[in-house]
């Protein structure tokens, strides 16, 4: 039986979208960064165990989502640059410097971008929690919290409401504790997994403090 369809020109795209959501929150002396662990393309799931957070140093973790090919290459390039820095300066890159380095790397590909949504979380030179968020071509800013990736639009307003206490008049602002941050992150990922097809399977949470990086894994809906 012949396929009676009009001829359609398909333009080959060098990019693909592999899904994934990342989220980071900065506290007074800690930072929390989490990502889901699903890797997909269209309606297919490639694997349920592909976290999108990568440890850069004892004080910084980078979350990257978007096109997995570019994520892997970007991580390779950053790690190579970090190696050079460590050999030259005999110390690790600080979080602020790592952020600027990433912005430079991303902008160097301004006219054929890395299709990645990046969030860097860690402790700054003074030991305070910091979160830097980037666009695919390297525009970046330091913030207290940021959601990125496929379910970013679902998570960001809830963080506005619960972390920055927006639209809540007369509520006492208490400093954010690690436990509160982790339970908030777990809750938002559970909500995102309900409504976003690309988010699910599991969430990997990295808690960065002066004493090191603690990792928690929580399962999510697998549908």
């Amino acid at each position: 039986m012949e396929d009676y369809r009009a001829p359609m020109e398909h333009q080959w795209s060098p990019y693909s979208w592999n899904g994934g959501t990342i989220l980071a929150v900065a506290g007074e002396d800690f930072a929390v960064i989490a990502s889901d662990t699903r890797l997909s393309e269209g309606f297919q799931i490639y694997t349920r165990d592909s976290p999108k957070t990568y440890k850069m140093s004892d004080t910084a973790v980078l979350g990257c989502s978007g096109f997995h090919g570019d994520v892997l290459t970007l991580i390779k390039v950053i790690e190579a640059q970090q190696k050079i820095y460590r050999h030259t300066h005999q110390k690790d890159l600080s979080c602020e410097s790592l952020a600027q380095l990433l912005a430079t790397i991303l902008y160097s590909r301004r006219f054929f971008p890395y299709y990645t949504y990046n969030i860097l979380a860690g402790l700054d030179k003074k030991g305070k929690g910091c979160v830097y968020s980037f666009d695919p071509v390297g525009s970046y800013d330091r913030e207290m919290y940021r959601a990125g990736g496929s379910a970013a639009a679902m998570l960001q307003p809830l963080l506005d409401n619960q972390v920055a206490l927006k639209n809540q008049a007369g509520v006492e602002k208490e400093p954010l504790t690690i436990d509160k941050a982790v339970s908030l992150v777990t809750d938002v990922f559970t909500s995102a997994a309900e409504r976003d097809i690309y988010t699910g399977d599991g969430v990997k949470i990295s808690i960065i403090t002066a004493s090191g990086i603690d990792v928690k894994e929580v399962p999510l809906r697998r549908d």
Partner: protein, 206 residues
């Protein structure tokens, strides 16, 4: 002019509580980037226990609400009783499907109580009338993803009317604050069996 649904900008949400429903919408009317008015009505009363809000093109929302009221008035005259929310949902669905190939650029959000039993009811549908009834909440808007995120986290079953008001208000206000074409205030209606409370909220005016 890429997406006609995003031309005027809007956000509507409805939630079910304990023996009550709530429906809320933002108040902005714009022409793409230009804000035209900040008191635009998006929720229409069909009868004292049935409300419908519209997301999408403002002119179509007004036309459809007028046509719907017209059909509903005839129904009420013929049947001599208030319409059940589920029957009303079918009326809206039929109206939209009658324009299957020349559709209205809107998505309705229906919220009401059954006239006899006072059971809460909420529903939404797509632009050609495919209905979706849920037990928790329904959302429609240029910021629908944001609304889904907020409602999914904040809603819980059997909220009392005052708690339902707080929940739906926070869900709407924080979602529209992350959307450029909706916001500029909000209207929230909480419908209980013997009273309707309408509150106007002041939010970020941008």
């Amino acid at each position: 002019m890429s997406n006609i649904f995003e031309y005027n900008g809007s956000a509507v949400v409805a939630m079910v509580g304990k023996e009550c429903v709530a429906i809320a919408a933002d108040r902005r009317l714009g022409m793409q980037a230009q804000t035209v008015t900040t008191d635009f009505k998006k929720i229409y009363e069909m009868n004292n226990k049935l409300y419908v809000g519209f997301y999408g093109l403002a002119t179509d929302a007004q036309t459809v609400s007028n046509r719907l009221k017209f059909q509903l008035n005839l129904y009420q005259l013929r049947e001599n009783r208030l319409i059940k929310p589920k029957a009303f949902m079918h009326m809206v669905s039929n109206l939209l499907y009658s324009r299957r190939f020349g559709y209205y650029f809107i998505e309705p959000v229906i919220a009401g109580l059954d006239p006899k039993t006072n059971d809460p009811y909420i529903a939404t549908m797509d632009l050609i009338g495919c209905p979706m009834e849920t037990k928790d909440f329904v959302v429609a808007g240029t910021c629908s993803e944001q609304l889904y995120g907020m409602c999914e986290s904040l809603w819980k079953p059997d909220l009392e009317p005052d708690d339902l008001f707080e929940t739906i208000s926070q869900a709407l206000m924080n979602a529209v604050d992350r959307d450029a074409v909706s916001g500029w205030g909000a209207v929230v209606q909480v419908i209980e069996k013997d009273q309707i409370t309408t509150r106007t909220l002041k939010s970020r005016m941008d």
